[in-house]
Amino acid sequence: MMNQNNVLVELKGISKNYGQGQRETRAVENVNFNIHDGEFVALLGPSGCGKSTLLRMITGLMPPSEGEILYRGEPLRGVNEHATIVFQTFALFPWLTVQTNVEVALKARDVEPNARRERALKLLDLVGLDGFESAYPRELSGGMRQKVGFARALAVEPELLCLDEPFSALDVLSAESLRGELMELWSSKALPTRAILLVSHNIEEAVLMADRIIVMDKDPGRVVAEIPVNLAQPRQRKALHVLAMVDRVYAAVAGETPSESKELIGTAPGEGGKTQMLPHAPINAIAGLMEFLAEEGKRADLYIVGEKLGMELDEFLPAVEAVELLGMATLRGGDIELTSLGETFAATTILARKEIFAQRIRHLPMFQWIEQELRKVSSQRLPQEFFLDVLEKEFTPVEAERQLDFAINWGRYAELFEFDDDRDELYLTTNGAQELPV
């Protein structure tokens, strides 16, 4: 089914920039892939990798900054009339009944009132919502609301059904059953839909459902791997070949520690060269991960750690990245292993941990720079704008703020410096006045 003749969607060198001039940032860079007739494609990656942006470009909700999107060989202009979306947040109109929420999509296509009612009822029946036609969305559970979302999206008989993390706002059981029902409809060919595009950050979900997984990474958002999933449906989550595939996708998503770890550190903000971004990991996530690893016994399967910790992927991966950056663990082939420093950290008292942490982050140019700047002024205090201004030369305004937030979160924990919330100033504490290790 992979031949070029039945390509439905074709992405050619798609990039997307936000902002203008100096503030311009690249959200998506040079993405190329196809979606074929009959295919279920999953777009997988951490938050901020541009997967939702990509979905919005494919449906025509926003235009790409560069590149071209072809639909059935024709360049896409405006909203793609053959596509619909099932939204993460359901996007139901709270003031319309279940039935009207479905009908409203048909009304926009000038379907006659009687035909509208008939079709809406048929679809609500199909997703198992008969009896709830006159209920309002707020009277329904999350799972049932999303069923309305599916009914509405399917009512207009789209060729391309786009699912924007449709299960992530649901409880585990509802998500599970809704996934099952969708796969049943899809596999039985009961739908007029020709292809499905699923955006997700849940690796297992993607492996269970998709024919092909496109793995994305962020900064800038780009495709890092395409993994075909040639497993027969229905797939069992505990089946060995499914687990092996999950492991493989995990390795692709998390990446590996580069052998030369100097590369990782980068230069200080304001200097030449690229500043290494601090991973978006709060202290408690880092500490939690370290303790867990110590208990598990040094080396563990990333995918199992993530699952057992019950962390979302976009929360878990930055924590992994952080412990790696601080030299407390290394990544290899989908496994994570504590270094001896990491073991010490996990085993010791809070005070000693703070010391280790302080020592480690003092090696990072970001923290060297903050300390040096604070020491330069006699009051040893500087407004946060000072740091933001410099950071904004390397990062987007939003990211610069986030970077400073994490720097403050880490620096406070390590007692390198303090932050005055009322005056928005960073200042040195007496502990922080020790000499810098050069």
Partner: protein, 574 residues
């Protein structure tokens, strides 16, 4: 997320800029143009006698109600059109928002005589008077409606917007399915405020004197004014009874049912514990007529209307591609040139008028501005002192709220202007003089904005925070300092902004009062404006109005906007 229903009319952006100056000049140009026209108005006018017999009251009440209704319909149309344009088109937004912001700071009453006089120069007198009254009431109702609806449109949930796009709603369907429902609750609340604002200016809209010209329209407002002029206490009381009766009837049969009905338009995905209820709405819901009305009249009609609109929109879309772009550009340049010409002319005539204000008059204006400023300050302080504890008590106690809220709402709708004569009579006789009485009048006019906002703020304090404070044993001042004051702060600022603007506007009626054929006035900017109007002294009217506009705009931009930003950044709960 909880939505603020009474949104403040604070627009984001830099404090003051060139476009603000241009708009002020534009407003002044309009005023100057009006004065120019007004000079051609009939030299002497004697208004019709208002009969003070209570038997005439139903007629008068009907007339006034009709004027209010017409002005309100115009306000709603203006709101839907202008707010939608501002929300949809960035260019329009850049032009419309600052204009609205300045316009709402303009003292309405300064403009009335000029509006009416210029209209009488162009139109038959009676029609001009009616139109003038409607315009005045319109300007007292429209701004908060427009701002609130604009804010609703701008803050409507992104996912619903995307759903509307992906399912290819046409602009009308999008407006009807998303924009209008999402804005409905704030629109109903603000409509209630707008009607209160309209009643406030009703007396001034229906009767006023400019020099030798005495204009009067038959209505409830002119009835009350005439009763006051003749010091006929019995008639004043009859008029008040009629007015309060109307307000209660509107509250029971229109606003409460509307609020109960609009509850369906909230975006929260949970059932509220305490939805608004209205007996009349319940009756209506149960009535067969209502069902028939919906199914056989409303639904088919809206269906057909939607189809028509969809068809014409599609037809227009097809034609749009063929439209002549260069022709549009010429039209735009011509319009721009006309506006620029008008601005230049306005600036020139404004200067001419200002040059005729004598130094003595300028010093009067300056002293008046100082006195009025003090009065605004005192009125706001008094309002704060009583509304904060009372508002917090009502807001944090649902049982108290259920009993008091409706009473407060009706009380707030009773226009202070109707009570002025009685109060003035009492205060002047007790020796306080209008200089002090004016403060009370201003207070009566504006304290409600504060009270409503504080109630809303206190009611929005999350329950878990209240429980935490309880378990921590926070009491007295500690409880206020750590929980209540920070929580209500954004609401407090919102209320203060509206109240302060209202105070300045109220100075014109509060500092200059006629009662029993006597005229009382205090030292103040409002009094200067009112006196200049009565004397037909246009340069003075012009200078004093300009001063008031500048003071209000400067305060909004330099003081309130900063406080508002702090409130939003630091004390937001959601």
């Amino acid at each position: 997320m909880r939505r603020r229903i009474l949104t403040p009319s604070v627009i984001p952006g830099p404090a003051l800029n060139v476009s603000d100056a241009l708009i002020v000049v534009g407003v002044l140009a309009l005023l100057a143009f009006g004065i120019f026209l007004a000079l051609g108005a009939p030299a002497e006018v004697q208004g019709p006698e208002i009969n003070l017999s209570p038997a005439y009251l139903p007629w008068y009440a009907t007339f006034s109600l009709t004027r209010m209704f017409v002005a309100y319909v115009l306000s709603i149309l203006f709101t839907l059109g202008v707010a939608s344009a501002a929300a949809r088109n960035q260019t329009a937004e850049k032009i419309i928002l600052p204009i609205l912001d300045i316009l709402q700071s303009v003292p309405i009453l300064s403009f009335l005589p000029v509006v009416v006089l210029s209209l009488t120069a162009l139109l038959p007198e009676n029609f001009a008077l009616e139109l003038g009254a409607v315009i005045l009431i319109f300007t007292s109702q429209v701004w908060n409606l427009t701002f609130s609806f604009y804010q609703s449109l701008k803050t409507s949930p992104t996912d619903l917007g995307e759903a509307s796009t992906i399912f290819r709603f046409n602009p009308w369907q999008r407006f009807r399915t998303l924009g209008l429902p999402f804005g409905a609750i704030p629109l109903v609340w603000n409509s209630m405020m707008s009607w209160a604002g309209g009643w406030f200016f009703l007396m001034a809209a229906e009767t006023f004197t400019v020099g030798e010209r005495d204009y009067r329209l038959p209505g409830l407002g002119s009835y009350l004014q005439s009763a006051a002029d003749q010091a006929n206490i019995g008639a004043i009381l009859w008029g008040l009874v009629a007015l309060i009766g109307i307000i209660i009837v509107l509250d029971q049969f229109i606003w409460r049912p509307l609020l109960a009905w609009a509850d369906r338009f909230k975006v929260e995905m949970v059932e509220s514990d305490d939805p608004p209820t209205a007996w009349f709405y319940d009756v209506w819901q149960r009535a067969r007529v209502a069902k028939w009305w919906r199914q056989s009249v409303v639904n088919p009609l809206t269906e057909r209307f939607d189809q028509r609109v969809a068809q014409s929109l599609r037809a227009r879309e097809e034609n749009a591609s063929a439209a002549n772009v260069s022709k549009n550009r010429i039209v735009r340049w011509v319009l721009l040139a006309l506006v620029a010409g008008f601005l230049l002319w306005g600036a020139y005539s404004a200067l001419l008028l200002l040059a005729r204000v004598t130094p003595t008059e300028w010093s009067q204006i300056a002293i008046g501005a100082g006195a009025s400023f003090l009065r605004v300050l005192v009125a706001l302080t008094i309002a704060l002192i009583w509304t904060v504890p009372v508002g917090v008590a009502i807001g944090m106690n649902p049982r108290l709220a259920r009993v008091l809220q409706p009473i407060v709402q009706v009380t707030a709708s009773v226009p202070a202007t109707a009570l002025f004569p009685v109060i003035v009579l009492m205060l002047i006789q007790s020796g306080g003089g209008l200089n002090l009485a004016a403060i009370l009048l201003m207070l009566l006019g504006t304290q409600w904005y504060l009270l409503f906002n504080i109630i809303a703020g206190a009611a929005a304090i999350p329950r878990d925070l209240v429980y935490t404070a309880e378990t921590l044993g926070l009491r007295g001042w500690e409880r206020w300092r750590t929980m209540i004051l920070p929580a209500i702060f954004p609401y407090l600022i919102t209320g203060m902004i509206t109240a302060a603007g209202g105070c300045w506007n109220a100075t014109i009626v509060a500092e200059y009062v006629t009662f029993g054929g006597e005229t009382y006035y205090a030292t103040g900017l409002g009094a200067e404006i009112a006196r200049a109007t009565a004397a037909g002294n246009y340069p003075m009217l012009f200078g004093a109005t300009l001063t008031m506009i500048l003071i209000v705009v400067a305060f909004n931009r330099l003081f309130w906007r900063r406080l508002y930003r702090i409130a939003e950044e630091r004390y937001r709960m959601d």
